[in-house]
């Protein structure tokens, strides 16, 4: 029942926007429903940690600790994104001279997007998971192309073509898993359920599982944005409206990674940990190297954030490669911390872009003196994202490295740290240019009403960072859930 309610909430928000023709009040309803998703997710988490997994909707939905953890991440970030989305919708309305069509389309698509992500993590069955992940691609295409500029249309085209191919490969992988499950004696109606896969995995044909998992990493890895399947990501994330970038970068990537984590658990039971580990280490190190090399020369701050996502997905993949419980718990904490920090940064970058009229790093200077609120949030967000204390990314990165050394992946952890140092230097260089320095003379006369965002806009941005800092300092509210979630996919 509660699972159906979680899925119904974003639909309700979308319906409110449709009924209210994208007016501000209806957009606030959507914010409230996303907040309710977060609250419901937390309540369900408490219940699941205490009493074990629950299922609903005739066994189509199932929530164990890992699923509810992802529900919390989705709830938190969709709350932030829909909050700032009100701003985006208001700007759309201005651009369209008060026409409600595009703001309400935008709002409804965002709510559908959130709904499909929730379905993906609550699906009991790998087939439904696939359908939901594919649906997230379809609903986000028009969000990426929403501005209808040449750049955004090009990004949308690349996005749907590359991700459709990727997700098709994931489907082929799923077919092979299903084949292995049927041959291991699974009953066709339930053979694709996670519980059934985990129960029978030790009897799956090893060579078939190798093929299947490789296809799944390739396929879902495309949606995660892991190199070398990443090429759509910087374009899509830089062209989409800021709240959409926040959702895509903050949660959609990790929802796809959730699929890999689940399949990895099945594969490990069938093959032992070696195969999945090798594969994940390769894509992780490739992603880190690629992010490092492209961040150095980056000239666009939204693209900078996009490449930074590729780096973090690489770190998460490396943590998952280590695979022990400690590592998985850290991976999940990293998913939450990265989601919060990255979505705040994308949302802030949207405000900066609206105020400054450019997404070029060169075009923005001395933000801290000219727009202290925006500049401050942007700076603190970058500090969080670069993995400095007190934010939770520091904790999770530290624990991941420790776990990697524990399982003999120390060499990979060292390589990752080298990439991180390069990225640190590159990003600090870009940030220094944007935040500090003397204000250029042309900007001296910038209208004062643009200087500070209103308080209702600043609240979610600061709140998101505060949450990221809070869970970095006090991990205790989460530790039970993280442990339970790690136990789901790590033996």
């Amino acid at each position: 029942m509660v699972l159906v309610a979680i899925l119904a909430l974003p639909l309700f928000g979308g319906a409110a926007i449709a009924a209210g023709r994208g007016r501000r009040s209806s957009a606030w309803v959507a914010v409230a429903t996303n907040g309710a998703t977060l609250v419901l997710g937390i309540l369900t988490a408490v219940r699941v940690v205490k009493d074990g997994p629950i299922s609903g909707a005739w066994g189509v939905l199932r929530a164990d600790a890992l699923s509810v953890f992802m529900v919390i991440v989705i709830g938190a970030i969709s709350l932030l994104a829909s909050w700032l989305g009100i701003r985006t919708m208001a700007r759309e309305r201005e651009l369209e001279h008060g026409s409600p069509v595009r703001p309400s389309h935008y709002g409804m698509l965002v709510q559908a997007f959130v709904g499909f992500m929730l379905l993906a993590v609550l699906a009991a069955n790998v087939g439904v998971l696939w359908v939901a992940v594919e649906a997230t691609t379809i609903v986000t295409v028009f969000l990426v192309g929403h501005r209808r500029t040449r750049g955004s249309l090009e990004a949308a085209w690349k996005y749907i073509v590359i991700c459709s191919v990727g997700i098709a490969l994931a489907f082929l992988g799923t077919v092979f898993v299903y084949l292995a499950a049927l041959h291991a004696g699974g009953h066709s109606a339930h053979a694709l359920d996670w519980t059934s896969l985990m129960a029978h995995a030790h009897r799956f044909n090893p060579s078939l599982m190798r093929l299947a998992f490789a296809l799944i990493v390739l396929g879902y890895g495309t949606k995660v944005g892991l190199a070398p399947m990443h090429s759509w990501l910087p374009d899509a994330h830089s062209q989409a409206p800021a709240p959409v970038s926040a959702l895509m970068s903050g949660v959609l990537l990790t929802v796809a990674f959730y699929a890999i984590l689940r399949f990895k658990a099945v594969t490990d039971l069938a093959l032992g940990p070696g195969f999945a580990r090798t594969l994940l280490v390769i894509v992780a190190l490739l992603s880190l190297a690629l992010a490092a090399s492209l961040l150095i020369t980056q000239r666009d701050y939204k693209r900078m954030l996009a490449y930074h996502s590729i780096e973090h997905m690489g770190l998460i993949a490396l943590g998952a490669a280590a695979g022990i419980r400690l590592a998985i718990a850290a991976v999940l904490l990293h998913i939450l911390g990265h989601g919060l920090a990255k979505s705040v940064l994308f949302l802030t970058s949207g405000e900066i872009m609206a105020a400054e009229g450019t997404s070029q790093i060169d075009g923005v200077q001395a933000l801290l003196t000219r727009r202290p609120a925006l500049g401050g949030v942007f700076g603190v967000g970058l500090v969080a994202l670069l993995g400095l204390p007190p934010f939770s990314l520091f904790t999770s990165e530290l624990v991941m490295v420790r776990a990697e050394f524990e399982v003999g992946l120390g060499w990979a952890a060292v390589l990752a740290m080298v990439a991180m140092v390069v990225i640190f230097i590159a990003v600090v260089g870009h940030a220094r240019h944007m935040l500090l320095g003397p204000p250029p003379p042309s900007h001296v006369a910038s209208p004062p009403h643009l200087a500070a965002p209103p308080r209702w806009v600043a609240t979610p941005l600061i709140g998101g960072l505060a949450a990221c800092g809070f869970i970095g300092v006090f991990a205790w509210p989460l530790s039970g859930l993280l442990e339970a979630a790690a136990r789901v996919v790590a033996s």
Binding site: N125, G127, V128, W130, V131, E134, A135, T137, I138, V141, F142, G145, R148, R150, G151, L153, E154, A155, A156, W157, K158, I160, V161, S164, V165, A168, F171, L172, V175, F176, Y178, L179, L182, H183, S188, A189, L192, N205, S207, L208, L211, P234, D235, S238, Q239, L294, T297, Q298, R303
Partner: protein, 219 residues
């Protein structure tokens, strides 16, 4: 249906899927390519029909009906309407010309048979022996995707990839449970609609172009 007529009907239908894939490489006019991809969708549906009759599986027959309706009729109709206004409705300058494409497709088919052999042996049924045909269709679809530059051709390439995977799924496992099959078909249909709307917007914004002329975004 007795054993030998089952196996020949299945081989014929699956073979038709692959023949359509090769024919698409050979054709240049968008209209005939759309007809060919419709034929491919129907052949795919017939594979499911033959399997469904043989296994007496009503779910599979229902899935076959969905496949024929979506891939054989609905998507080609939509594609035909969308490309109606496409003034240059030919692939005039493919990245790889037709003779070279056909040679490449032969190589891809060999590759599919080499890699698909182990899966085919594992499945161990008459249907399973045809798995390499599905993989070959998938690979040729990929090839169309990278070697053709008109938006409609890329959509067709994606459909071929999808048909190849669906064929593999039918042959390996006699298809997924029906509800999932329905969800998958619905996703594919929606995906094609989105692609077509997007390709029309591209045409409005950029004029009649090849996709590799999109050069707005780069590092």
């Amino acid at each position: 249906m007795n054993g030998s007529s089952y196996s020949s009907a299945l081989t014929l239908a699956a073979g038709a899927v692959l023949v359509c894939a090769v024919a698409i490489l050979w054709l240049a006019s968008i209209r005939s390519v759309i007809k060919m991809v419709a034929t491919q969708g129907i052949a795919l549906g017939l594979v499911a029909v033959v399997l469904g009759v043989h296994l007496r599986d009503a779910g599979l027959l229902a899935a076959a009906a969905v496949v024929i309706a979506v891939k054989g009729v609905a998507i080609p109709l939509l594609l035909g309407r969308a490309s109606g206004g496409d003034s240059g409705s030919r692939e005039s300058r493919p990245l790889v010309n037709v003779p070279a494409s056909l040679v490449a497709s032969a190589a891809l088919i060999v590759l599919a048979f080499v890699t698909g052999r182990s899966v085919a042996r594992f499945v161990g049924t008459t249907a399973g022996a045809l798995v390499p045909i599905g993989l070959a269709t998938l690979l040729i679809g990929f090839f169309v995707l990278v070697a053709r530059r008109r938006p409609t051709f890329q959509i067709v390439g994606l459909l071929m990839v999808d048909n190849g995977i669906a064929l593999t799924a039918f042959l390996c496992t006699a298809g997924f449970p029906f509800l999932i099959e329905l969800g998958v078909s619905f996703d594919v249909l929606l995906g094609v609609v989105v692609l077509m709307v997007l390709s029309q917007r591209l045409r409005i914004e950029f004029g009649d172009i090849d996709l590799d002329e999109l050069r707005e975004l780069h590092d």
